[in-house]
């Protein structure tokens, strides 16, 4: 097996990672780039804990090979905060009490970020649709939806 070098942008910085091609994007981010906010849940694309923003869209990084990230723009939770301070979505998750055990939270926040970047004023139904690929086994969905709506409102200058 020949190693490959993956050139991509991770959290706004260009990186070049020399890696075995039989690794997933999930493994590259966690093991090679030490971005441990990216969680491995089901490893089958079902739970959404490993969600990252890939060229602007949420994807499950357990379904992507590291080599497929060549040239991509990737955002993990580490790339969301501003100067080490929580951004509007993170703050809304805290304020709405949308975090229980926390394992699904990075994926939830990234999916919400991708949604709000495209649709700054989503309806509750649109939020539920957008978040339908992220599972929370503490079953705290009501507050998660509330948090995303709150973030949207604050980002638009309300509250």
């Amino acid at each position: 097996m020949n190693k490959i070098t993956v050139h991509c942008t991770v959290n706004h910085k260009p990186v070049a990672v020399e890696i075995d091609p039989n690794k997933r994007l999930l493994d590259m981010l966690r093991e090679d780039l030490n971005l441990t906010s990216v969680k491995e849940g089901c490893s089958e694309g079902e739970c959404g804990a490993c969600t990252v923003i890939f060229n602007g869209e949420p994807v499950t990084s357990c379904c992507v090979l590291a080599g497929q990230a060549e040239g991509a723009d990737i955002i993990t939770l580490e790339g969301v905060s501003v100067d080490g301070k929580p951004d509007v979505v993170q703050q809304a998750f805290m304020d709405a009490g949308a975090v229980q055990c926390g394992f699904c939270t990075p994926g939830m926040i990234l999916t919400a970020e991708a949604l709000l970047a495209k649709n700054p004023a989503p309806t509750e139904e649109e939020v539920k649709q957008a978040m339908s690929g992220n599972l929370c086994r503490c079953t705290g969905y009501a507050k998660i939806v509330e948090a995303v709506l709150l973030a949207a409102e604050r980002a638009r200058g309300g509250v």
Binding site: P21, E44, C63
Partner: protein
């Protein structure tokens, strides 16, 4: 995952050369939503993986001379968002917008869905109902065939006729004349999101200016190894004036066909036959509404 070498060609020709060179030891990867899981679980153990994502010429949705042409690398998300598909091909819109989850739709491609030829493939069921053509390319040349011929399986594992060094490049079908033709897809599953189809029903109906049915296509995904073909139901509709009552008359035949096909799995029959009838009643109502023939209240 077993170790493999990784290539990311940027043209179809380059990919075909590599596939030809490595033959059976190659897996091509599109969205990866089936393949990466198989690699991770050692169910697929290729020596070489060829990524199709960098091949721009495989990613398009366009209408040309009255024909929809869809590149194999078009994602479920891009199909679900496409305005022409939404207006003209409801069956494909409704099938792709319900695949997996937003994350899976952003990755998964129509080509991967068809090449995987899973019993529960929703994009596959929609394309089979449309009787779409698929185009396959290899270093030997190009062949285009009906998706029904493509699905002629050889053996337990092999569900389609793709050769080891052959790429599925395009799905095509005539643009439906929505004044006379309606298409619909209904997915019966255990949840709204992240659920495999228990039944993925597809229907295409064409009527003439007098409302008489001139063509019908009825398929049930996940009912058998391939989307089940309700040929006798179709035959009953053709030549009749289309109405809800006429459509309901097909259900006893459908019932018998599902019963017959599932004899070896009797435990699933009761649920599947009831489910299929419910799915098709929804499809009938949808089709009749689209054609402006009848409003059906369930």
């Amino acid at each position: 995952m077993k170790p493999f070498d990784f290539y990311a060609p940027t043209t179809v020709d380059e990919a075909l050369e590599l596939m030809h060179k490595y033959q059976d030891s190659v897996s091509v990867i599109a969205g990866g939503t089936d393949l990466v899981l198989e690699l991770n679980e050692y169910k697929a153990t290729p020596a070489v993986v060829i990524d199709l994502k960098k091949i721009k010429e495989l990613n398009y949705i366009r209408v040309e001379d009255g024909v929809f042409r869809i590149g194999a690398m078009a994602t479920h998300a891009s199909l679900a968002a496409d305005q022409a598909v939404k207006e003209k091909v409801r069956i494909l819109h409704d099938a792709t917008r319900q695949v997996g989850s937003p994350q899976i739709r952003n990755l998964g491609t129509i080509g991967g869905n068809i090449a995987q030829s899973s019993v529960a493939g929703d994009g596959l069921a929609a394309c089979v109902t449309l009787n779409a053509d698929v185009t396959l390319r290899s270093v030997r040349g190009t062949r285009t065939m009906s998706i029904n011929d493509f699905l002629a399986g050889e053996g337990a594992q092999k569900r389609n006729i793709l050769a080891a060094d052959e790429l599925l490049t395009e799905i095509s079908f005539p643009v439906p004349d929505t004044k006379h033709t309606a298409t619909a897809f209904y997915k019966l599953a255990k949840r709204k999101s992240l659920a495999i189809s228990v039944i993925g029903g597809g229907m295409v109906v064409t009527v003439d200016d007098n409302g008489v049915c001139t063509h019908a296509s009825m398929r049930g995904g996940a009912l058998g190894r391939y989307p089940m073909h309700f040929a006798d139901c179709e035959a009953l509709l053709v030549g009749k004036k289309l109405s809800y009552a006429a459509m309901l008359e097909t259900l006893p035949i459908m019932h018998d066909q599902i019963l017959e096909a599932n004899r070896s799995r009797p435990w699933s029959v009761f649920y599947k036959k009831e489910g299929a009838q419910g799915v098709f009643k929804k499809l009938f109502a949808d089709i009749l509404g689209q054609l402006g023939i009848e409003e059906v209240q369930e």
